[in-house]
C-alpha cells in the first residue's frame, strides 16, 4: 500500500522542488518533468538535449525526490561518468539543491582517486547516490559483497552516453551495466546525451536486453554563428601550428569576456599557449588545460574559469565534456574540426542559454583545413551530423568481464553468455566464440600439458568456476579497464635548490627518453630545460634565454576526420563554384594547383609523383578518411617493396596518402599499384605482419590480462613483471597462429584501423579513372599531406636499405681510420 502511494506521488513533482526552481528564477522544464514521470513509471529513458539547460539535474531529480520521499536507506542511485573530474564536480553541484531543498539525501563520489579507506567504508555504508566511473563500477562488481551492495539500486544514470557507445570503453560499460542488472533487478537506466546523429542507436545501447530505452528529445539549440577567422597574415599551405593567426586569436580573446580556445592535441595546446603568451601585452589571464596536467592544476583552472577569472583557456578534448563553465561567450576552434558532431559539442561549451545562438570562430591551420572548416559549416547549416555506425563489441573486453565476474562469486558459462549477449555490442556474439573466450579466461586457452597449475579460474561444482587464487583476484583488480596508455613520467619543475620542486604533470616515456640534458621543452605553459630523469620523474629547470623548445610529443589526442566530413571536403574541392566562400588564400592555393597540376574531378583519383630530397614521393588523393588511407598505404608499400621501389615511410591524412620511396615510380606502375586485387593475397599476407597489428595485439593483451596496465609510480617493478607483448606476439605467430588473442587483435585492427569496406569500394569505383601527374616538385595540394607529422613506418627492404646506408657510413669511417692508421 505504502509503495503504491509513493509511486503515485513520485510521478508528480513535489512542491519543494517547484519552489526551489522558482526561488532560483528558473522554471522546471518539460523534459525534467517527464524524467520524474519516467522514474515513477519505471521506464528507462535516454534524454537527448543540447548542452546547458539543466540536463544533468534532470537525471538526478527523480532520484532526489524518491530518496527523500521513501527515506531510502543505502545505495539508491549510481551515476556513471566517462570522466573522474565530472563525478567530482557533480558531487559539489548536487550538494546545493539537496541543502537548499532540505532533502535527506547523501551523495559521494568514488573514482580511482578516492582514498582506500573511504572506498572500503563506501562498500560497507554506501551513500544514497554514488558518483563514479565505469572502471570503478566494474571493480565494485568484482567483490563478493557486490550483490548485497547493489541490491536496492533504483536508478543508474549514464552521463555523456554518446561518448561511450561506439568505443571499447562503451563495450566495457555495457557489460558493467549487464552485471548490474543481475545484481539490482529493480533499477531503471537514465542516459544523458548530447545531440547525436543516431540517438536511436544510443537508446538501444542503453536499454535492457533487447528493449531500447525510451527516447526523450529536448528542444534544439538555436543554430550557432560560425565564422572562419580572417587573419591578417597569410594562411600557410601546410603545418598544424596556426602560428600565423596568433595575433588575431589574441585579439578575439581580448574582445570577449571569456572564451575557450579548442585545439586537437595536447602538444598543440602547449604550443599555442606559448605563442599566445609572447603576444600577451595586456597580461590577460590565459591558461592551458589538457589531460596530462596534474589534477591540482586542472582543478585550479576549472575553479578560476567558473569564477570568471580567466579570459581564455587553451584546451583539448578534455574540456569537451562536463559541467557548465560559467559564461563562455566565444569558442575558438584552432585546427581542423575533424567532425561535425564534435565541433557542435565544442561550440556548445559557449553560451549555455538554449535560445541564444552560440558564437564560434574557426581557425584552420593550413589551407586544406580551411576546406574542412567550410565543409563542416555547410553541414551545420544543413542540420546534418556525422555519427558512428554501431559495431560488434571487442572480445578482449569479454575475457576481462568473465574474470571480473568470477572474482566475486562462482559463475556458470551459460549465465555469463546470457548476460553478455543481452548487451547491444555483443548481441551477435556466437556461443562458439564465447566458449573460446571463456576457455582463455579459465586457463589461457592453452593446448599444452600440465595446465592445471596455471588456471586463472578454477572449476567448482555444477560446471561453475571461481577465480583460482587471491593472487588472480588482486592482479585482475589492478588491471581493470580498457584504456591503455603509453607509460608516462611525472614532470617536476625544480626549485632553486635544484633538489626538489613542483610536479606539473606527466609526459610520455618515449618523449622523456629522447631528451638530453639542456634540451628545452614546453610544458604546462612553461619553457623548461631538461636536467635528468630520477626515480621515474623528469626533473627540469625553468629555461632561461631563447632557443627553440622541443615540444612534448604526446601520442594522445590525435583525432581522425569523420568520413562524413571527408566527403564534404571532397565536394567543396571539386566544385570550383563553391570556392567563393573560402578564404582568399585558399582560393589562391587551389588556383595554383589548377595551374601547376590539376584539381581532381569528383569522379577521378589523382596520383602525383615527384622527387623531394633523397626520396621520391607518390601522393594518392583518396579522400576516404584516415583509416582507409592507412590501410591502402600499408598495402601499397608492401606491393612497392616487392616491386623494388623501396618504400621508406608513408604519411596518411584524411585527404590523401603520401608514400616515400627510394626509387621513382612511373605512370603505368603507379596505376597498376591500385588494382583491386591488392585486397586479395596482399592483404592476407600483410595483415599479420603489420606494425599496427602489434599495437592492436598489445592493447588486446593488456585488456585480456596478459600484460599489466602501467601505473605511474609502480612502473619500475611492473616492468619486470611483464613480458614485452611484441615478444609474445612473435612466439604466438610461430607456435600458435590461431590463438584467440591473435584473432581478436586482428578483428580489432580491422574494426579500428582498416576500414576495408570503404577501401574496396574506392578501388572499384576508380578503376580506369586514375589520373597520374609526374611533377618535378611537390604540388600545392601535396604540401599539407607531406607536412603531416604522423607517419607510418615501413619495415622492410626500405628500412634495410637505410640501415645499410647508415652501416656503410660506419664502414667508410672505418676505412678512413684504417688509412690514417696505415699512415701514422
Amino acid at each position: 500500500m505504502d509503495k503504491v502511494l509513493t509511486r503515485a506521488r513520485a510521478n508528480a513533482v513535489p512542491d519543494y522542488v517547484e519552489r526551489w526552481f522558482a526561488g532560483k528564477g528558473w522554471e522546471l522544464r518539460d523534459y525534467q518533468r517527464k524524467m520524474v514521470e519516467a522514474f515513477g513509471k519505471r521506464r528507462s529513458t535516454l534524454l537527448v538535449a543540447p548542452t546547458g539547460g539543466g540536463k544533468t539535474l534532470s537525471g538526478f531529480l527523480p532520484s532526489l525526490i524518491d530518496i527523500h520521499e521513501t527515506r531510502a536507506k543505502g545505495l539508491h542511485t549510481l551515476y556513471i561518468s566517462p570522466l573522474k573530474a565530472l563525478a567530482n564536480d557533480i558531487e559539489r553541484n548536487l550538494h546545493r539543491p539537496i541543502e537548499e531543498m532540505g532533502l535527506s539525501v547523501t551523495v559521494e563520489s568514488r573514482t580511482g582517486d578516492t582514498p582506500a579507506g573511504k572506498r572500503k567504508r563506501q562498500r560497507e555504508r554506501p551513500p544514497n547516490i554514488l558518483l563514479t566511473t565505469p572502471e570503478s563500477i566494474m571493480l565494485m562488481l568484482s567483490f563478493p559483497d557486490a550483490r548485497k551492495l547493489f541490491a536496492n539500486v533504483r536508478s543508474v544514470i549514464v552521463d555523456e552516453v554518446h561518448s561511450f557507445a561506439p568505443t571499447k570503453r562503451g563495450d566495457f560499460t555495457a557489460l558493467a551495466l549487464a552485471r548490474l542488472a543481475e545484481f539490482a533487478p529493480d533499477h531503471i537506466r537514465f542516459g544523458l546525451s548530447a545531440t547525436a546523429a543516431h540517438p536511436e542507436n544510443l537508446a538501444a545501447w542503453l536499454g535492457f536486453a533487447g528493449r531500447p530505452a525510451t527516447l526523450l528529445k529536448a528542444g534544439l539549440n538555436a543554430k550557432p554563428n560560425i565564422r572562419i577567422m580572417r587573419a591578417r597574415k597569410v594562411m600557410p599551405y601546410g603545418g598544424f601550428l596556426s602560428q600565423y593567426a596568433v595575433p588575431d586569436i589574441y585579439d578575439a580573446i581580448r574582445a570577449t569576456r571569456s572564451c575557450i580556445v579548442f585545439v586537437n592535441t595536447r602538444a598543440q595546446a602547449e604550443m599555442l599557449m606559448q605563442m599566445l603568451w609572447t603576444v600577451n601585452d595586456d597580461s590577460l589571464p590565459i591558461t592551458v588545460y589538457h589531460g596530462s596536467l596534474n589534477r591540482e592544476q586542472r582543478r585550479r583552472t576549472e575553479a578560476m574559469m567558473a569564477a570568471g577569472k580567466l579570459r581564455a583557456v587553451v584546451a583539448t578534448a578534455a574540456l569537451e565534456l562536463g559541467i557548465d563553465w560559467g559564461d563562455v561567450d566565444l569558442v575558438i576552434q584552432v585546427g581542423a574540426p575533424k567532425g561535425v558532431s564534435r565541433l557542435l559539442q565544442r561550440i556548445g561549451r559557449s553560451n549555455h542559454r538554449m535560445d541564444v545562438p552560440s558564437e564560434a570562430l574557426l581557425v584552420p591551420s593550413n589551407r586544406f583545413e580551411s576546406l574542412e572548416c567550410q565543409a563542416a559549416m555547410n553541414a551545420i547549416a544543413r542540420g546534418v551530423l556525422d555519427g558512428d555506425e554501431p559495431v560488434d563489441g571487442s572480445q578482449d573486453v569479454v575475457i576481462q568481464y568473465i574474470v571480473n565476474c568470477a572474482c566475486g562469486e562462482s559463475i556458470h558459462p551459460d549465465e555469463i553468455f546470457a548476460e553478455v549477449t543481452g548487451t547491444v555490442p555483443y548481441k551477435m556474439l556466437a556461443r562458439e566464440d564465447f566458449d573460446r573466450l571463456f576457455r582463455f579466461a579459465v586457463n589461457g586457452g592453452t593446448v599444452l600439458s600440465n595446465y592445471e597449475r596455471y588456471l586463472r579460474l578454477r572449476p567448482v561444482e555444477d560446471g561453475r568456476y571461481v577465480a583460482a587464487t587471491n593472487m588472480v583476484r588482486r592482479r585482475h583488480r589492478m588491471n581493470i579497464g580498457v584504456i591503455v596508455e603509453a607509460a608516462r613520467l611525472k614532470v617536476m619543475k625544480l626549485n632553486k635548490t635544484g633538489k626538489t620542486g613542483r610536479i606539473l604533470g606527466e609526459v610520455e616515456e618515449g618523449f622523456a627518453q629522447g631528451l638530453t640534458p639542456g634540451d628545452t621543452f614546453m610544458f604546462a605553459g612553461e619553457l623548461l630545460s631538461f636536467a635528468r630523469i630520477r626515480d621515474l620523474v623528469v626533473e627540469a629547470r625553468p629555461a632561461t634565454g631563447g632557443g627553440e623548445p622541443k615540444i612534448p610529443a604526446y601520442a594522445g589526442g590525435n583525432m581522425p576526420l569523420s568520413t562524413f566530413l571527408a566527403d564534404g571536403v571532397r565536394h567543396v574541392l571539386s566544385t570550383p563554384s563553391s570556392w567563393r566562400k573560402l578564404p582568399a588564400e585558399t582560393r589562391e592555393w587551389l588556383r595554383l594547383q589548377q595551374d601547376f597540376s590539376i584539381i581532381p574531378p569528383e569522379d577521378t583519383l589523382l596520383i602525383e609523383h615527384f622527387p623531394r630530397g633523397r626520396l621520391f614521393h607518390t601522393v594518392f588523393y583518396t579522400f576516404e578518411g584516415r583509416l582507409a588511407g592507412q590501410t591502402l598505404g600499408l598495402l601499397l608499400t608492401r606491393r612497392m617493396e616487392r616491386q623494388g621501389f623501396k618504400p621508406v615511410s608513408f604519411t596518411v591524412t584524411d585527404y590523401g596518402l603520401a608514400i616515400a620511396t627510394l626509387e621513382t615510380i612511373p605512370e603505368e606502375e603507379a596505376k597498376a599499384l591500385l588494382s583491386p586485387d591488392i585486397l586479395g593475397d596482399d592483404l592476407e599476407e600483410w595483415i599479420m605482419d603489420a606494425a599496427m597489428l602489434r599495437r592492436s595485439f598489445r592493447h588486446v593483451a593488456i585488456v585480456a590480462g596478459l600484460a599489466e596496465q602501467q601505473h605511474v609510480g609502480q612502473r619500475s617493478t611492473v616492468r619486470q613483471l611483464t613480458v614485452n607483448t611484441n615478444l609474445i606476439y612473435d612466439v604466438l605467430r610461430r607456435h600458435e597462429p590461431d590463438h584467440i588473442l591473435l584473432t581478436v587483435a586482428r578483428r580489432d585492427a580491422e574494426r579500428e584501423l582498416l576500414d576495408l569496406k570503404r577501401l574496396s569500394d574506392m578501388l572499384l569505383r576508380f578503376q580506369g579513372r586514375l589520373l597520374y601527374h609526374g611533377l618535378d616538385r611537390a604540388s600545392p595540394l601535396a604540401i599539407p599531406v607531406l607536412t603531416e607529422v604522423r607517419t607510418e613506418q615501413v619495415r622492410g627492404a626500405g628500412v634495410e636499405a637505410l640501415l645499410a646506408q647508415a652501416s656503410l657510413a660506419l664502414d667508410a669511417e672505418q676505412m678512413i681510420e684504417d688509412v690514417r692508421a696505415a699512415l701514422a
Partner: protein
C-alpha cells in the same frame, strides 16, 4: 684498433676478431669462437612464460619450446665442442619443476649432442635445474677470454650477458628497436637468447658505463640479419 666487422653477403653471420680470437656473431643471437670451437648463448630465461602463468597471467607458454628450437638449430649449425650458457638460462630456480616433459627431453637431447656443456650461474638461476648434464660454474676461462654472467664479475677480456642489450635507432622518418651484441676491444656483451627475454637500452647507464672508457660497436639483430653500428 677495433677490427671492423665484415658482414657476410647474407648478413646472418659476422666474422671478426676479439681478444686475438676469431669470433662469429650469429643473427640467431649466439656467438661462435671459431679458434676454440665454443658456442656461447646467454640469458635463455627458460620457463619465463610459465613463471608468469603460475601467477595468474594467461600468457602463452611456447617460449621454452621456441628458445630450445632456436638453440638446437644453432648447435646443429656450428657443431661446437663446448657450449657455454652465460647464466640466467632458467628464469627462476623452480623452472625445472615446471618445464614440460617434451621440452626437458629436447633440452637433454641438445646437451647430449655436444661433448661439453657449461652452465654459468646467473642471478635468476643461482641453482641450475638438476637433471641436465653439464658442468655448473660461476665463471669459465678459455684461452685469454673470461666468461661470466655479469660483466662486472670478471676481468677483461671478457664475454658476458645479464643486461640483454637492445638499441633504439632513429632512421629517416622512423625508429627501430632491436637486440644487439655490444663489443669493444676487450668486452663483449651478448644479447638475450630467450624468446621472452626483453631488453635494456644500450643508452642505459648500466650498459653505457661499461664502455665509457673505450669505443664500442653495436651489432643489431633485425629481421634475422645483422647490422653493425658505432656507438652513438
Amino acid at each position: 684498433m677495433l677490427p671492423s666487422p665484415r658482414p657476410s653477403p647474407c648478413q646472418t653471420q659476422i666474422e671478426t676478431v676479439f681478444a686475438g680470437r676469431t669470433i662469429v656473431l650469429d643473427a640467431c643471437g649466439a656467438l661462435f669462437l671459431a679458434d676454440d670451437d665454443i658456442l656461447v648463448v646467454s640469458d635463455l630465461h627458460l620457463e619465463k612464460g610459465s613463471y608468469f602463468a603460475a601467477r595468474g597471467n594467461p600468457i602463452p607458454r611456447h617460449d621454452t619450446r621456441d628458445t630450445l628450437m632456436r638453440l638446437a638449430a644453432a648447435v646443429d649449425c656450428y657443431r661446437p665442442r663446448l657450449v657455454i650458457c652465460l647464466g640466467d638460462s632458467f628464469h627462476d630456480v623452480r623452472a625445472g619443476e615446471r618445464i614440460a616433459r617434451a621440452d626437458a627431453a629436447l633440452l637433454a637431447d641438445i646437451v647430449a649432442s655436444v661433448a661439453d656443456w657449461v652452465w654459468l650461474r646467473g642471478n635468476h638461476d643461482p641453482d641450475i635445474a638438476p637433471g641436465f648434464r653439464g658442468r655448473v660454474a660461476d665463471a669459465h676461462i678459455a684461452g685469454p677470454v673470461n666468461f661470466c654472467h655479469r660483466p662486472e664479475d670478471g676481468l677483461p677480456p671478457l664475454i658476458a650477458g645479464h643486461y640483454h642489450p637492445k638499441r633504439r635507432m632513429r632512421l629517416v622518418g622512423q625508429h627501430i628497436s632491436a637486440p644487439c651484441f655490444v663489443l669493444s676491444r676487450d668486452r663483449l656483451l651478448m644479447p638475450a637468447f630467450g624468446a621472452y627475454a626483453g631488453g635494456l637500452s644500450t643508452n642505459d647507464e648500466a650498459i653505457a658505463g661499461l664502455f665509457a672508457d673505450q669505443p664500442c660497436q653495436h651489432v643489431l639483430i633485425y629481421r634475422n640479419k645483422l647490422w653493425a653500428f658505432a656507438q652513438t
